[in-house]
Symmetry: C2
Subunit: 220 residues, 2 copies
């Protein structure tokens, strides 16, 4: 039982820091979005499409979480108003962002000049679901080549999502992905999250996702 | 420093159990292969292609690791001589198989009647690289729709691999994946692992992978 107690202690400390992050964001009227997916599902592409879709009147900051490299931060640096890269390699938790990391990143961002912060989590369908970061919205991206059985195998991350993006719609003719089977599997876990099937490659479906997100900003 | 000491204690215990697993497998002349990848890269498809490629003269057991569900065990149960499903949901480590779980699974398998055990790890490019399971061969599968930058972002799992499979070669015309960039990124981390580009859908390239693996069985 020792280990479980320690883990619960860490999670309680994480939740406290996450609450502080949320209060800081709220004081600045800034919406935070935690974007989670498996490696290669298209988190960075969704971030880029989202910034472009929101347009120049919405001031966007990005926190990029990766085990290693600055590949993603480099991709978004021209599009976003502010970008902070977090590399988790060698940290006690390397498989997901935790609230402490986001706290440190937020302190380096000009929050009074941002309307939204997109937090791109580490590519992982398991660990990120355990850590509240202080976000207002949790988004999970599934991509069609991954297959339609992911909600059965990684239930927690889909159960907790406020929105589910299904990316790489352009690959649908070439892969085995049954949209009905996927959405029914998510619905068994999560009664409320809207689905946004889209393609970051072609732009199909992006407008619906951006409209939904824009509505959340106005409520923040 | 408290947490790091505890984690190191867990890893030392894991390594001891892994050594026990390896000794057990060696006593039965049984090769164990740890198959790792991101969610949806095609681990189960590779397992099925591998069993078919090795043919009826090689007796194959499979350990299926997933957070939840028995989807994969059901897919392989007709092909393998023995299948054990491990669900990690609710266990202290849920994001990867650990040596204790494999120990329990091996005790439920008829090792004296198996030549090889394929261990399908939990879909994750981070956590599985931390835990020795007692395997003889570590294989990482990357799939073309994930993009060619995965070795930069998840270096440890590629650095430790004994072989790298590049799956979903049939999708290459439809995705942004530069084979040279991928293989160079892996070579920067790992001087020795052979590459096996293949498609589980069409069967292209599977024979080369199976031939390499078959040669390892004879050496076990």
């Amino acid at each position: 039982m020792k280990k479980i107690e320690i883990v619960q202690g860490l999670l309680a400390a994480n939740n406290a820091t996450a609450s502080g992050n949320r209060a800081l964001l709220d004081r600045h009227g800034c919406l935070a979005v935690n974007i989670m997916s498996a490696p290669g599902a298209g988190k960075t592409s969704v971030v880029l499409r989202t910034i472009a879709g929101l347009g120049a009147t919405v001031r966007t900051g990005v926190i990029e979480g990766d085990v290693a490299s600055t590949v993603d931060a480099e991709k978004v640096q021209d599009a976003a108003r502010a970008v902070v890269q977090i590399n988790t390699k060698g940290m006690p938790e390397s498989c997901a962002l935790v609230a402490d990391m986001v706290d440190a990143a937020l302190r380096r961002m000009p929050l009074d000049r941002l309307d939204i912060v997109l937090i791109e989590n580490v590519g992982n369908l398991i660990c990120p679901s355990e850590f509240d970061l202080g976000e207002h919205v949790k988004v999970v991206i599934a991509s069609t080549p991954e297959g339609d059985d992911k909600p059965l195998k990684y239930p927690l991350i889909f159960a907790d999502a406020d929105a589910v993006i299904i990316n790489k719609l352009d690959l649908l003719p070439y892969v085995d992905f049954d949209m009905d089977r996927f959405t029914h599997a998510v619905r068994d876990l999560n009664a409320r999250a809207p689905f946004f099937p889209l393609s970051c490659k072609t732009g199909e479906g992006v407008a619906e996702w951006v409209a939904w997100l824009r509505d959340r900003i106005h409520k923040a």
